[in-house]
């Protein structure tokens, strides 16, 4: 398609921009203060709805005029629910408050909004540089990040298209409408953007292949079937800034010649579905989608398809089958979807983050993007860092930053003075890396070389108390349940990997187990049909390579070094430390396994104990009497006194 005479599209868009600027100005100049509340799924789960209601109540009770502005997620999960209060009259800059419960909301309304005291003991920092209080930008969690994809997340209301436009949204699209598709693809190719879905294929090349096919009907699909059980950046993006993704999709469709597009999003993400739906409607109503976009001859419809929950549907051929109404089973590639995809038509499938990277690239140019990240992996990466770190959440960093910087500087390291043991990167398809890889730069190729992969961007940090055999078992349990069942290696092979790992964690390991794990893993990797099967053994292969001692301890000594595998541990109460007459552990034990000894101390009945560890938490720190050991035989046996005696003591 040739670029059309676009003076009119510029005019149409500047009218929209003017309206956006006008609305923004009206909001900014409105009297009273502004309360920004993060209302993505994670915020709501942490109680943001209650916080919002508490603010509303308190404001109306006190007759204070203020604007509550609901925004998406900024990725600082440890701080949820958070609010930013902008109270210009108080003389203070906008302030970021973490953990704002309903009670805190009421307190802040009274003391800060009404009386002007910002209660500095509750703040995280100011969101602007100022003379009065430290800015959040002084913390590594903020200043070491580089936000390209998530730049607007948490700043705008995802359900108001004008806020996105007022922040410069959709200018990249207008820019593109002035250029030829070939020019746009060249720009994307020059930027070096690689698919953020995991494998890292060149986005520009994919688009070029799609553009060149002669077939008329083409589809663009945004793959938001985020299935990794520890990654949620796609959902956050959809919930916090859907328009950046939609803009990326429109540009992609324009450049490749597609006229229909689809967002494939998990049905388990109801809020994301709702927000994307609203966003599409709003974009349509402003003429940014639909027939004759911004007065040009370019038409595009975007629909939503709700995925029904099958991890394998993240694989593009399976995803296509499920849209077509079949069981989501992958097929052999080639042909690739770019040649033969949805309804046999050429189909460009891009991940959410890939598409969201497009508008900033167009806006700032390929050279700007190349400046970020590394030579072969330009741009940024988003990780959801969870597990044993002080500041978990979503982090966007330039490629090439080391794992150490990410885990220790940005996310605050390991809490409770524990030692770092491993980091699992890339979810069920990824691998576990030990300490010696902490200085590995994060990019597609370095992670793959180390045995992990970028994958979904899920990152689980494990400390000395985690067991690598158990973590492998966890991931295999997941992939085994999510295997589509089509090919022999994945269907039956992953079952046996799981079976072997389960035996090891129960202390029923056999001599042949470790060899069998290694060999079977290699065969599944080489023999499976699709990416899910080929990468399913990665957690086993990497942990066998780097943490073999964990496996040997399980197989030969029936011992769990991380004290995690419940069949291989026991709890007992150190009678020298136990305080006579204290009942803290008895109260929390869910199975009545803890009894009172004849001298009114406590013992654990190993036959009843389910090893939940509640007694450890309950035991007052000044006694610290509950001990955990592996193998279980190390626990001293304390006899339960005969029933009558126990009754007498109670009475």
């Amino acid at each position: 398609m040739n670029p059309v005479n676009n003076t009119s599209s510029d005019q149409i868009f500047s009218a929209i921009q003017e309206e956006a600027a006008k609305r923004r100005k009206a909001n900014e100049e409105a009297p009273g203060c502004k309360i920004h509340i993060g209302m993505a799924t994670c915020g709501i789960a942490s109680g943001a709805l209650e916080t919002k209601a508490a603010f509303e109540d308190a404001l109306s009770q006190r007759g204070i005029e203020a604007r509550i502005h609901t925004v998406g997620c900024i990725g600082h999960c440890y701080a949820e629910p958070y609010v930013i209060i902008d109270h210009p009259e108080s003389g203070f800059p906008p302030i970021f408050y973490p953990d704002v419960t309903a009670g805190k909301a009421k307190m802040l309304t009274k003391l800060f909004l009404e009386e002007g005291d910002p209660r500095l003991e509750h703040i995280l920092g100011a969101t602007e540089e100022n003379e009065m209080i430290p800015s959040v930008m002084e913390f590594p969690r903020f200043n070491l990040e580089k936000r390209v994809v998530m730049e607007k997340c948490g700043r705008i209301d995802p359900e108001d298209i004008y806020e996105y436009i007022a922040e410069g949204g959709y200018t990249a699209l207008v820019n593109c409408l002035r250029r030829t598709p070939a020019e746009i693809i060249e720009e994307i190719q020059n930027s070096g953007l690689r698919g953020r879905g995991g494998a890292g294929f060149s986005t520009g090349r994919k688009w070029e292949l799609a553009r060149q096919t002669q077939q008329k009907d083409k589809f663009v699909i945004c793959n938001a079937d985020e299935g990794d059980p520890g990654a949620y950046m796609d959902r956050t993006l959809l919930e916090s800034n859907p328009h950046q993704i939609i803009e990326g999709m429109i540009i992609c469709a324009y450049a490749t010649g597609a006229r229909q597009a689809l967002v494939y999003v998990r049905a388990e993400y109801p809020l994301a579905v709702k927000i994307v739906h609203t966003a599409i409607e709003q974009a349509k109503s402003l003429g940014l989608l639909g027939k004759g976009i911004l007065g040009t001859a370019f038409d595009l419809e975007i629909e939503i398809f709700e995925g029904s929950g099958a991890f394998v549907c993240g694989e593009e051929t399976a995803l296509i089958r499920s849209i077509e109404g079949y069981r989501g089973m992958p097929r052999h590639r080639p042909p690739y979807p770019v040649e033969k995809g949805l309804w046999e038509k050429p189909t460009i499938i891009n991940n959410v983050k890939t598409l969201a990277s497009v508008p900033p690239i167009i806006e700032n140019g390929a050279a700007w993007y190349r400046e970020i990240g590394t030579e072969n992996s330009p741009g940024t990466a988003i990780f959801s860092v969870v597990g044993n770190v002080t500041h978990p959440g979503l982090v966007e960093i330039p490629m090439g930053v080391s794992l150490r910087t990410l885990i220790f500087d940005i996310c605050g390291g390991i809490p409770n003075k524990k030692a770092f043991k491993a980091v699992q990167i890339g979810g069920p398809s990824g691998g576990c890396l030990p300490e010696k890889f902490l200085d590995t730069p994060i990019d597609f190729d370095s992670l793959t070389a180390a045995g992990a992969m970028m994958g979904s961007g899920g990152m689980v940090v494990m400390d000395e108390d985690n067991c690598l055999v158990d973590v492998s078992r966890y991931f295999l349990d997941f992939t085994q349940k999510e295997s589509c069942g089509k090919c022999t290696f994945c269907r039956i092979g992953s079952y046996h990997l799981l079976d072997t790992l389960e035996r090891l964690t129960k202390g029923e390991g056999r001599e042949t187990d470790l060899d069998q794990l290694q060999q079977l893993s290699e065969d599944i990797k080489n023999g499976s049909l699709c990416g899910l099967g080929k990468t399913a053994p990665n957690p086993v292969l990497t942990s066998l390579r780097y943490f073999k001692e964990d496996y040997i301890a399980h197989a030969e000594e029936k011992r769990c070094p991380g004290l995690t595998c419940r069949a291989l541990i026991a709890f007992y109460i150190d009678l020298d430390k136990c305080a006579r007459g204290c009942d803290a552990c008895v109260g929390v034990c869910p199975t009545e396994a803890i009894f009172t000894t004849s001298n009114r101390k406590k013992g654990v009945d190993q036959s009843l104990c389910v090893k939940c560890g509640e007694c450890v938490v309950a035991c007052p720190p000044e006694y610290d009497a509950v001990e955990k050991v592996s193998p279980p035989g190390l626990a001293p046996i304390i006899e339960r006194p005969p029933e009558p005696l126990a009754k007498k003591i109670v009475s």
Binding site: T41, C42, I44, A45, S46, C77, Y78, E80, G227, D228, P229, G230, A231, Y232, R235, A267, E268, Y269, F305, E306, S308, G309, A310, F311, S322, I323, E324, G325, Y326, R327, G328, S384, V386, G387, N388, P392, G393, Q424, G427, G458, V460, M462, N466, V471, Y474, F478, C484, R566, V588, P590, T591, V610, K611, C612, G613, E614, V617, A618
Partner: protein, 177 residues
Amino acid sequence: MIADLSADEEKILNDVKIRLAKYGKERGQLIPILQMIQDKLAYLPHITMEMVAQHLDIPPSEVFGVATFYNQFRFNPPGRNPVKVCLGTACHVRGGDIILENFERKLEIKEGETTSDKEFSIERVACVGCCALAPVTLIGETVHGNMAPSKVEGLVMRVQIEKEMKEREKQKNESGQ
């Protein structure tokens, strides 16, 4: 496995039939239709799968094959208070399976089952996306973060007490009138 629907369900089923007629007849509608039915009935009774097969003019076995492939679809009614224990990665590392076990023990059912009084059912879910609150459990739509085994009993009791309170209130209102 034979259609054994309650009176309420029969009523909803009629509504489902009306809605079904509005869907197109192409194969791509299959999953959206199943989602609609589950949204209304909370599960897919066998009779509905036959209805869908008829609507789309495909064999019932095809509908069954597709429905049983996806995690979203269930074939027995959930309890009035579905307990969903998150077993995402972060929740696992922080002991999510122990929470699951405690619910199973307390409610005396296994994951995937419903209590005989239809009050509770237990499901495992893969990541509800509040990893910083791990381990997490949902009861109905309410998220309970930072779960501990000792909180399980309290939560179950709270649901039961709330139910009793509601019933008492209802009785009071009725006797008052």
